[in-house]
């Protein structure tokens, strides 16, 4: 039981990453194919880029969370996966670097030379990364990662029918989710034409993603029979039905331009299929290795669960705050709604002599304790004194007004 809790955390992380970061990847996909709508290509690209601005870094962290929980709670399975699937993971890592950097760079290049090249890097890496991560998933799901240091085939473990299928599905799902979210964002901005465009894109990319999901099931029937069996019976089947129903509901909601609920049902469709995969594979993590056998010792598992629980207490309200502000448009770029300025006033400067004496005293005590004392508590006090010295000297150095104007020539 305890051995499976970190796996549940990992799957929640995978679902959050697929839904949230997936939509960011999909936004990149639409900058690659911005045509076909009433809005100009440039405006479509801008809309797709701007909508992910404040949230993409936070969305990205879900991936890091998945990795760290996996290597702490299931170290041998993690090492087997990363060594056999080194190629697609490396491609994904490079894609993440290119995408993050080109996104940050593009924000500073309005109208500059090289803008298009940077946009292309952003768009291509937004397609490459979800494909590579989907291929990793396919390698694990089709049982091509044996336990051991690079024990599997370095090529066919990720270039195989299941991996290619799931990789393609990951790209299509990202594009679909992004189209739904971008339509909702366009409505929030009050921009009618992008809203209409992305509604149409959401509809047809939804149909494509649905068709690919069905095709993916058939590919698994031929290529990864155990998963197929798991997905067509028992709890796995329930999840497939839930996912299909949520997918259809999303299409209907988008058709009727109800983008808010469509966001939720689209996310549910993705989360259900991830749960279905896990249930279909249960109890195995890798071939011949169950989740129980892969799990680290009890004390490590308890430590992971406790830290995630503590982390969640901080994280969940923060995420609610971020998305609350984001979805209410409080973080949008655009004209500023008249912010109140702080009135000018003379601030009381700290008494310089007193502060200087304090800094000096802290320096002497801190250095003395750190250099000449041995016990740990003395070092702790010493470090605290040095920090107090640094802070007071910094405040003194930055708040003391300059006595005279410097020479203007040089």
């Amino acid at each position: 039981m305890l051995a499976e809790i970190p796996m549940v955390i990992i799957l929640l992380g995978v679902a959050a990453y697929t839904v949230l970061a997936g939509a960011d990847f999909g936004a990149g996909f639409w900058t690659l194919f911005p045509g076909g709508g009433r809005t100009s290509r440039a405006a479509t690209r801008d809309h797709a880029r701007h909508a992910m601005g404040p949230v993409w870094e936070a969305n990205h962290v879900w991936l890091v969370l998945v990795l760290v929980v996996c290597w702490t709670a299931y170290p041998v399975a993690f090492a087997s996966i990363t060594s056999t699937l080194a190629a697609p993971l490396f491609i994904a890592a490079v894609g993440i670097i290119l995408r993050g950097t080109s996104y940050a760079l593009r924000g500073q290049l309005e109208g500059a030379r090289g803008q298009r090249a940077v946009e292309s890097v952003f768009a291509l890496s937004s397609v490459l990364t979800p494909f590579a991560l989907g291929a990793v998933t396919g390698g694990i799901a089709s049982g091509r990662v044996p336990v051991g240091n690079a024990a599997g085939d370095l090529v066919t473990s990720w270039l195989n029918p299941t991996s290619v299928m799931i990789g393609t599905l990951a790209v299509a799902t990202s594009a679909y989710l992004a189209a739904v979210y971008l339509a909702a964002d366009a409505r929030r901005f009050g921009e009618r034409e992008p809203e209409r465009d992305f509604r149409v894109r959401a509809l047809w990319s939804g149909v494509v993603a649905g068709a690919l999901a069905v095709a993916g099931l058939l590919v698994m029937r031929a290529d990864a029979r155990p998963i197929w069996d798991g997905l067509t019976s028992g709890a796995g089947l329930v999840m497939v039905v839930v996912s299909a129903a949520a997918g259809l509901a999303t299409l209907v909601l988008v058709w009727r331009s109800r983008f808010g609920p469509a966001r939720a049902s689209g996310a549910l469709a993705v989360a259900a299929i991830i749960a279905g995969w896990a249930l279909a594979q249960r109890p195995y993590f890798l071939p011949g290795l169950t989740v129980d056998e892969a799990a680290a010792g009890r004390s490590t598992l308890v430590a992971v669960v406790v830290s995630v629980a503590i982390g969640a207490v901080v994280l969940v309200p923060s995420l609610i705050l971020l998305f609350g502000l984001f979805l209410r448009g409080r973080l949008d770029a655009g004209p500023v709604p008249g912010a109140p300025a702080v009135e000018a006033r003379a601030a009381a400067a700290p008494p310089p002599r007193l502060l200087g004496a304090f800094a000096l005293a802290c320096l002497l005590v801190g250095a003395g304790l750190l250099v000449f004392a041995d016990p740990g508590w003395a070092h702790a006090v010493g470090v605290a004194c040095l920090c107090a010295c640094a802070v007071s000297a910094f405040v003194l150095g930055t708040t003391t007004p300059e006595r005279e104007k410097p020479e203007q020539d040089g």
């Binding site: 870094e57 936070a58 060594s83 830290s307 070092h379």
Partner: protein
């Protein structure tokens, strides 16, 4: 700490979950990891120090109402966000590489130290969430709340680095587990990571380094501008904030470094022997400045008698363990470690000197220095502080070799069995060259935004013509 001889014999008896594998490109794998770290660590310095500096500028604005401070905070927060984005992706590749390059290490010890990264993951989340609220929230959130939204960014930068350094100090001083038949048993992650006496000096040393590197790098930009005639009140104030932050830390770093060296002497005597190039265990050991270790002794160096004993143990006659305490196969590459250490100490001392000079003029004469040479020195100090930072990490990480987990697991036992390391390494070099170009380009564009614009949000206004922004 587990009994090293016992542990080593158990490991060599086989048994671990991932038996050692013959990897032709071990050195390339290490180079690849080192390159990724060298790219990421300077960005970590900005994660540690920049939020505090930006918040200080905003705090001054709230206290005095002087819009100049607001302009500084706003312009800096754009740079902070851009560097954070680059830090996010370069940090992510590090976590990928731990698995891609060192699966043996992860499989054997992920259950011991992994918790540190899980906690770091949450710090990273908080940092990403609040940096977005802070950087995008200018003028859209009431001023005081906006200031408060930046505080979690500063705290998370500190805690995140704390957790990562907890892992590194564990690798240098492994505790919190015992080995049985090559597998870890009796694992206690909490005590392994946070009950480790080796953590504290590493963390404090890195924290101070963060302010020194970020402060001098920002200052060197304004010093460069000063030399080219940009000496307005904005530039002088920005220079003062950044340079003061670095200058108050640089002299103190010498005290912290002294503490760190004594901890190394106690826990990793072989690393200390490599740092000095001390071949034999010696009473009253000397220290050599510069010079070259030829396999037997340091030649062409300036010898200072008994200094090493004095520094390491506060006793000029103390016995210092030499490289001969362990077999040659267990010794780190001496000249790399020595050269890196002397580079760090040399640059660090020069920076401390420059800092004292600056603080003297600032406090006694109540103005900025006027000499052009001072500004040339500050312009050079930024890049030099990065060199010192990297050299410090080379000292501690190459000095740990040939072990990945000190005295327990060799780096060669940790490496992947997968082929294609040179391809990955080559690709990464190209990607990082592109990354460096992009960062330089980005910072140049940011610095060219006219001051009067006050620095809008992180992106220019939505360019959609005639669009109404509801909300």
């Amino acid at each position: 700490m587990p009994d090293l001889a016992l542990v080593t014999s158990l490991l060599s008896a086989g048994g671990g979950p991932f038996p050692p594998i013959d990897q032709e490109y071990l050195f390339e794998a290490r180079q690849m990891q080192a390159l990724s770290l060298a790219v990421h660590i300077p960005l970590v310095c900005f994660g540690l120090a920049f939020p505090a500096l930006v918040l200080f500028a905003e705090w001054r604005y709230l206290r005095t109402g002087d819009p100049l401070y607001r302009t500084i905070a706003r312009r800096w927060s754009r740079v902070m966000l851009a560097l954070f984005a680059v830090g996010v992706v370069t940090g992510t590749i590090l976590s990928f590489e731990l698995g891609l390059l060192w699966p043996g290490f992860m499989a054997s010890f992920g259950n011991v130290f992994g918790l540190g990264f899980a906690l770091e993951g949450f710090s990273f989340f908080i940092e990403a969430i609040f940096i977005a609220i802070y950087a995008y929230g200018w003028d859209r959130i009431p001023p005081r709340l906006h200031f408060l939204s930046g505080i979690p960014v500063a705290i998370a930068g500190v805690t995140g680095s704390f957790f990562v350094i907890a892992v590194n100090s564990w690798m240098n001083h492994p505790t919190g587990f015992t080995l049985s038949d090559g597998r870890t048993v009796d694992v206690n992650s909490w005590s392994a990571l946070f009950g480790n006496s080796y953590l504290w000096h590493e963390w404090v040393h890195m924290y101070f380094a963060g302010f020194i590197v970020a402060g001098f790098l920002i200052a060197s930009f304004y010093a460069w501008g000063y030399l080219r005639g940009r000496r307005g009140r904005y530039q002088r104030t920005a220079l003062t904030i950044a340079l003061t932050a670095a200058a108050v830390m640089a002299p103190l770093q010498i005290v912290v470094g002294d503490w760190a060296a004594r901890e190394v002497a106690n826990v990793q005597p072989v690393k200390l022997a490599a740092i000095e190039g001390l071949p034999q265990t010696t009473a009253g050991a000397p220290e050599h400045l510069l010079g070259w270790y030829n396999g037997h002794e340091v030649v062409y160096g300036i010898e200072i008698p008994r200094l090493l004993s004095l520094l390491a143990y506060h006793d000029p006659d103390a016995t210092v363990e030499g490289l001969n305490a362990v077999p040659t196969a267990d010794q780190p590459p001496v000249n790399v470690v020595r050269f890196a250490f002397q580079t760090m100490v040399g640059i660090g001392s020069l920076l401390a000197l420059l800092s004292v000079l600056y603080l003297y003029v600032r406090f006694r004469r109540r103005r900025l220095p006027r000499s052009r040479w001072f500004y040339r020195a500050v312009a050079a100090a930024g890049p030099l502080s990065v060199v010192a930072l990297i050299a410090g990490w080379v000292t501690t990480e190459v000095g740990r070799q040939p072990w990945v987990v000190y005295g327990v697991m060799r780096t060669s036992e940790a490496v992947t069995g997968a082929e294609g390391i040179p391809i990955g390494y080559g690709t990464l070099v190209v990607v990082y060259i592109g990354l460096a170009t992009a960062v330089a380009w980005m910072l140049r564009r940011l610095s060219h935004i006219p001051l009067e614009s006050g620095g809008d949000g992180p992106e220019p206004p939505h360019p959609e013509p005639g669009a109404a922004h509801a909300g």
